[in-house]
Structure formats: C-alpha cells, structure tokens
Amino acid sequence: MSTQEHAAAHVHRDDIGAKMGMWLFLFTELLLFGGMFFLYSVYRFVNQDAFHLAAKELNTIIGMFNTAILLTSSLTMAISIAAIQKNNRNLSIFFQLLTIVLALGFMVNKYFEWSAKIHHGIFPGGEELLAKSQGEILFFGLYYVMTGLHGLHVIIGVVLIGFMTRLTKNGVIRQDSYVKLEAAGLYWHLVDIIWIFLFPLFYLIT
C-alpha cells in the first residue's frame, strides 16, 4: 500500500515561504518593541528635563563600545552566510562562533554597566532612585525594561546561532540549503537594529 511512501511525500521545501514567515515574525518583534517606544516617547514628552538629566548618568563610552560590538557581529553573521554560499563550511562555522563570542561580549559589558548602576542604588525600588524626580524614575524604569528585553533577545540569538552552528556541522545547513541560517541572520540583524534605536534614545539624546 502507498501508506509508507506517503510520509516522504509530505516533505516540502519553500525557501521564499520560509523567509517570508521569518520577516513576518521579525515584524511582530518590532511591534513588541514598538509598544515600548510608544511609552518612551510619551514619557519623554511629558518629562523632558528629567529625561535629559537622567540620560547624563549613563556611560556613553560603554554604550558606544557595545554598539560597535553588535555592528561587528552583524557583519560576521553576514560573512558566515556568504561562506556557506561558497561552500566553505569551516569558515562559516568560524564566523558563527565569532558572532556568538561578540554577543557574549556585549552581555558582559551590559553586566558591568548594570551592576555599577545597581551598586549605586539605581534600580527599580532602590532608595537612591526613589529619591529622584518622577521623570528620572521613569527614565531608569524604561532603561532597565527596554535594554533588559533587548538583552533577552541577545541571549535568544546566541542560543539560536549556537543551534545553527550545530546544523552546519551536521551538514543540514549547506551550500544548496541555507535558509535556516539566513533566517537566524535576519533575526540577529533585528537585534542589532533595535539596539541602534535604543542607543541614541538612552545614551545620546541628553
């Protein structure tokens, strides 16, 4: 009976469709952050002076450093895709791993940045913070929530790329079939782009 052959017939491949799904998903991620950007703009509009004051307390150098790291990691990710297209598996794996290292570097920086702030009593519910004006409290509230959510995305990205590295090793991702890696790349660029928005909002506009 043809029951058995059938299972195989079910496999179907549509790279354009897969990429389309990924784009739609990225759109929902943008909207998720969009809700936060909406809150940020309303609160900034209402508390201009306080936001100005609070932003001065953030360390622009660390922020800039992290921006550079993320931008570079977007590049290494793109290179890894180019490498697999040229059928250079090892190079691709190398650049994927490099992307992961850079992402972890970003998180380490973030850790130092956050812990310094927390050490100074600037964290939700912290005495130092509660002594400040309402606008500043909001600024730091948004800062922690938005960069925290972004950090969570970075971690998800690391796991995702780690997965891709394994798939590349196993030969699931190869020269003639790399749409998964491309999707992971798109995700990583999104994480990068969101940071590009967060950086000026929190560190630069003072």
């Binding site: 043809s2 059938h6 179907h12 469709g17 799904g21 739609l24 309303v42 939700p124 409290i137 509230g141």
Partner: protein, 552 residues
Amino acid sequence: MSSEAISTNKNGYVSYLDYKGKHTGFLGWVLSTDHKRIGILYLIALMVFFAVGVTFGFLMRLELIAPGRTIMDPQTYNSIFTLHGVIMIFLFVIPGLPAVFGNFFLPIMIGAKDVAFPRLNLLSWYLYVAGGLLAILSILLPGGPADTGWTFYIPYSVRTGTNVMFTMFAAFILGFSSILTGLNFVTTIHRLRAPGMTWFKMPLFTWSLYATAWVQVLATPIIGITLLLVVIERWLGVGLFDPSLGGDPVLFQHLFWIYSHPAVYIMILPAMGIVSEIIPVFARRTIFGYKFIAFSSIAIALFGSLVWAHHMFTAGMSNTGQFIFSLLTMIVAIPSAIKVFNWTATLYKGSIELAPPMLYVLAFIFLFSIGGLTGIMQGVLSIDIQVHDTSFIVAHFHYVMFGGTGFGIFAALHYWLPKMFARMYNQKVAKVAFWLVFVGFNVLYFPMFVMGWLGMPRRYYDYLPEFQPYHLTSTVGSWILVLGLIIMFTNLIVSMRKGQTITKWNIWGGETLEWKVETPPTLENFDDIPVVTERPYEYRENDLAELEKEAK
C-alpha cells in the same frame, strides 16, 4: 479513531483518520503535523475550555438570581467572572474558527497539501494548551485565581494578591500561539495556492482568514508587551504605569485596547467568512457581491485597528480625541453593514434550505445585527457615558461575541463536522437544540440591555431589588441556553462516533474545493494538486448531480 477496516480509495490512499505514520494511537495525534489532525486537536481542547467557561457563566447567573448572597461569596464571584472572561475570550472565541476550521480547511480550500509550516502549527497547539492549563491552574494555586476581570486594568492588577501573574502569563503564551497561527496562514495563502487559484477565486472563508491573520500578526505583539510590562511591574515595581512613580495608568488602557479592539475582529471576521460560505450553499445561489465581501474583510481589519480609544471615552480624553474616535467607530460599521446587505441580497429569492448550519447562520445575522447596532449606540458619546460599565455592555458584547462568533462556530460545526468525520448527526435533534440555544440566548441577554439602561452596573455581585425581575428572567434564560448547548454537543459528539456513515463527497452541494475531495479527506488532501478554473459560488444546479456521479 474509527474502528472499521481501513478504507482506501481507488488509488490506494488512506484517509487522514486511518493513516498510520511513525506513531500510532495517542502519539499519532499529538505528534502529528497534519493540519487536519491539528485542527481536531484544537477542536477537542477548545470544547473542553468552552465547557468550563459556560459552567462559570452558568454559576454567575445562578448567583445573580436574587439579591444578596445565593451560592458564593463576592471574592469567588470576582474570580469566576475573570476566569469566565479570560477563558471565553482568549481560549474560545479568539482561536476558535481559525485554529479549528482554518487549520482543517484552509489548505484544502486553496488546494494545498498542508500549511506552510506544519511543525510550527503543532507548536502553536502546544502553546495554546499550555496557556489554557496555566490559566486554569491558577485556580488551584495559593493566592487564588485572578480577580481583576479579563481586562487586567491597572492599578488593581498590580496590587491584588491573587495569581494575576499566572493568568497574564497564560494570556501572553496564548498570544504567542495566535501570532504563530497568523504568520503560518499568511504565508500559506501567499505561497501554497493551487495553480489557477487566483486571489479572486479564493473562497470567502479564506479571505476572512487572511484578513484575520494580519490582525493577529500586527496587533497581538502589543498585548504581549503590555501584559509583560504588568508582570514586570508586579515583580519589580518599575512604576511605568504607577502614578506615584510618574507612570500613567491610562497608557495601560491605550496599549490594552490597541490590541483588544482589533481582537474583536480576530473573533468576528472568520465567523463572517463562515456565513459567506454557508449562505450560497443553502440558498442555492451565487453569492452577491463577492468582491465587496472580500474587500470589506480587509477594510474591517484596517479601520478596526484605529478605533481602540472608544473603550476609554470616560477614562479622560480630549474632546477632539473623543470626537475622532467616535467618528472612526461609526465608519467601521460600514464594511460590516456591506456584508449584511450582501448576505441578505443573496438570500433574497434564493431557495433556502433550513438545514442546521443555515439556521445558525440566520441566527448569526439576527444576533450580530443587534450586537452591532447597540455597538454603534456606544460609539455615540452621550449614550456611552450613560451605559458605560453597565450590563448593557455585557449584553452588547455577548450579542457580538457569542451571538456572532459563538454561533459562527456552531454553524461551522454543523456544516463541516460530517466532512471531517464522515458521519452525520441527527438533524432533527440539531434543530431542537438550535431553538433552545436561540431562545435561551435571547431570554438570557436581552434583559441585560434593559437593566443596563436602567443603571444596573456590570461586574456587580449584588444589586437593588428593583432589578430582580430582569435578573430572574436572565437566569432562567441561562438554563434554557445551557440545556440547548448540552443537547447540541451530545448530539454532535455521539453522532461523530456512532452516527450514520457517509462517503458522499459533497453532502450539502458546496462548490468550494473541500467538497471536491473525499470524505473524510485523504492524508494529503489531493492525490493530484487540482488546477482551479472556476470561481467559487457560481452556483449551478447541474453541478450537484455531476459531483455525485464523480463520487461513485
């Protein structure tokens, strides 16, 4: 599923119910990536949650039969109406049609073998069940179930000691499931239509799913972040919505309704799609204004996303704001009205067959019109201020959500279940059940319009004696309604297991693709991908005879 010998068609293909893949039995279902099996998984889960939700509604009505305490204390009442709302909205009417019938029939209707991402599809179901269980689990955990109402309004949702975190997290997971389904459907419709299936040859149910899927994808992330923020707020006390820390609770309401109003369209559009499917079949006439109906789905999705603030007229808003949102709200009524006119025009001079699916559709049009008109009333500022937070609102949204979506789901059940399970239900019993449900419904909810107008507030445990007659009537209505529901579901469930077997491909004489495949469909729906040449609903009497010949 079925115990008879495995039935194969002339080419030796096996139906999706009999198919034995890598796993069999229970695992063959919960690990299956077949869109049809996933649709049925959803159906089962959905019905369980619906039963729980109805039980809560029934208990609330029982409590309200007389002033003062009757069967429960006020805190329990608060928890029960919250859970009732959460279950009915997030677990029943929002996922209902797309998840069950969209999954089962969307690929078949466009001539595809499956959805674009079958495994993602299964993941959506897992998320759905996980979210549902989490919501119900919150009842058992210390602290007790949430008591905030399904709207989770700040600041109460941050302050109450009950398990709001769980309930909100459940809603968050359900949102994720909804997004994945939407994303899957958009991609499926773009990528997997059979040759010849152009946009304007697509069945109207598919159109409505397409519009819905976009709303799911675009609106749901907003509720996701909103719920997440409240969870963070409870957990860390960041203060984003807390006035004492500079936050603004009204912003929560904006974010909440930016999703929740469009969510109304996630609920109602697929139901409208069902109606547009069923009417031409049972009126034996070409649908009137196909393109108008298709485009009005998109228009509803578009305009519907701009009117959220009409839920906040009394929450503090500028006069210009109130005016704009009031006006926009009126405008959304237009595409809905277009649909109703087109349906009536199709029915006009048709030879109407009052089979059970058609009865539910006619009831849909009637109840939805009442719900819609009272909705327009609330779009009018002066009236809204009078009826805000009264049982008038409760009546209105039950007419829309239950009378609309709920009846849409019932219509779909009666229309498609025989196709899915190859067994026919008892049509006489189905009609009796229909009349009980319909009459019970109106006896239950209509008095709420009246007492709301007279000032009976919503979400109240106790009331003044002058409202007693209305409450009594309403509670009696709930008995009739629940009796009808029990008969209806018993009939369907029993018949799907033991009813008369059918193998006829086209039981109702429909013209869309799902009627041109076997009953029940084979694993891959189509032995050969069809080439579509005709528009749907170009109803010709001869076709019926022709199809029946084919089936033999």
